[in-house]
């Protein structure tokens, strides 16, 4: 109970506090090191996990079985589709080949003309990629169309490792 400024007591308090604080810091650092040493958690891919509410059986549809004609029709359609796609793919590849051949020819001719222009042509075009373009829509845009107003809230979950 003395109110005189005493030196001994305040000093002790400081030391004890400092030591306690240091001990706390060390403990925290040890915990952090342990957490860092443990392997980082995998980020779950939400598309591959079916939520439990869909594994209920009450949601299964009851449809009539497919008729024989239907299965036949589907098989034949699949075959025609395969053929169509094969031809389309082949045509695309041939088109690409002619494209490349025409370009090679053009470059050869350019080389014969002037070496300088040829070198300028071969150089990589930096501004080309990334190339962004909006693709065509099924119907052209309506002139004077007023889209309905609304706010879009993004609820995707973001995971940090």
């Amino acid at each position: 109970r003395n109110y005189f400024p005493c030196r001994a007591q305040p000093k002790k308090k400081k030391k004890v506090d400092v030591r306690r604080e240091q001990a706390q810091k060390d403990r925290m650092k040890k915990k952090i090191k342990k957490l860092e040493k443990a392997a980082p958690e995998m980020i779950p891919i939400e598309d591959f996990i079916t939520p439990l509410k869909y594994s209920d059986n009450s949601r299964v549809r009851s449809l009539p079985p497919l008729s024989f004609e239907e299965t036949e029709r589907r098989v034949l359609l699949m075959k025609k589709w395969c053929l169509f796609k094969q031809k389309q793919d082949k045509a695309e590849k041939e088109a690409i080949q002619t494209l490349v051949a025409a370009q090679q020819e053009a470059l050869k001719e350019l080389r014969l003309e002037s070496e300088e222009l040829y070198q300028a042509a071969i150089r990589r075009d930096e501004g080309l990629f990334p190339y962004e373009k909006e693709g065509p829509t099924y119907t052209p845009p309506l002139p004077g169309y007023d889209p309905p107003e609304g706010k879009c809230v993004d609820v995707t979950k973001v995971y940090t490792q």
């Binding site: 869909y54 549809r61 470059l107 990589r124 309506l142």
Partner: protein, 205 residues
């Protein structure tokens, strides 16, 4: 709607449940109707009807525009499902020919610079077009007729470059000469056979 490989969705379950409840109510003889009139104000079936109505009211723009019907080849609004190429009528020698826009190369310019100059000349300065790469896509060479040949120049080589138009509003551009926007099939109507053969090689539809 995909029926075979899918299960009932929330909306469909709600619809089924509400139908069940309606049926039960009718069978039990309209006893509980007064109790909960405020609860089921909106039913799933009503929602579906509302959506159907909205769809019927919406009318999309037609895919075949007026320019298609009139076969007006000068506008860009035709043939919205295929690519269009620009053709210009130019004077070569003493003939007026339909060609892809071409401009003579000035020494000191790269080929791509020439292509961009040609675009600026025919479509106006503020055109937003992206030239794809520095290298030419095709070449057409021809010999001058005997009258014009000098010692150095025997003929000419025309290098072709491809560019995509970013915006389709050409209102600012003044196209002095006759110009056309044509698809690949219609190119044959206007270009000469040799020229056409070489050009067709690098144009994809």
């Amino acid at each position: 709607i995909e029926l075979e490989k899918s299960q009932y969705s929330d909306h469909e379950i709600r619809k089924l449940q509400e139908e069940e409840q309606l049926r039960k109510r009718k069978e039990s003889g309209y006893d509980d109707q007064d109790e909960a009139p405020g609860k089921m104000v909106i039913m799933a079936q009503d929602l579906e009807d509302k959506w159907e109505q909205k769809l019927l009211q919406f009318k999309a723009a037609p895919r075949i525009t007026d320019a298609d019907k009139n076969n007006n080849r000068m506008s860009l609004n035709r043939k919205l499902d295929s690519n269009l190429m620009l053709l210009v009528k130019q004077k070569i020698g003493n003939q007026q020919l339909w060609l892809l826009p071409q401009v003579e190369w000035q020494p000191g310019e790269t080929l791509r610079g020439t292509a961009e100059r040609a675009m600026a000349m025919f479509l106006g300065d503020h055109i937003q077009a992206k030239v794809l790469g520095n290298a030419p896509y095709g070449i057409y060479k021809y010999k001058y007729p005997q009258a014009i040949r000098t010692e150095d120049t025997v003929g000419a080589k025309i290098f072709f470059f491809k560019a995509f138009l970013q915006r389709s509003d050409l209102s600012q551009a003044e196209l002095k000469e006759d110009h056309l926007w044509v698809t690949k099939d219609e190119l044959g109507d206007y270009l000469k056979s040799e020229y056409l053969k070489k050009v067709n090689r690098f144009l994809l539809d």
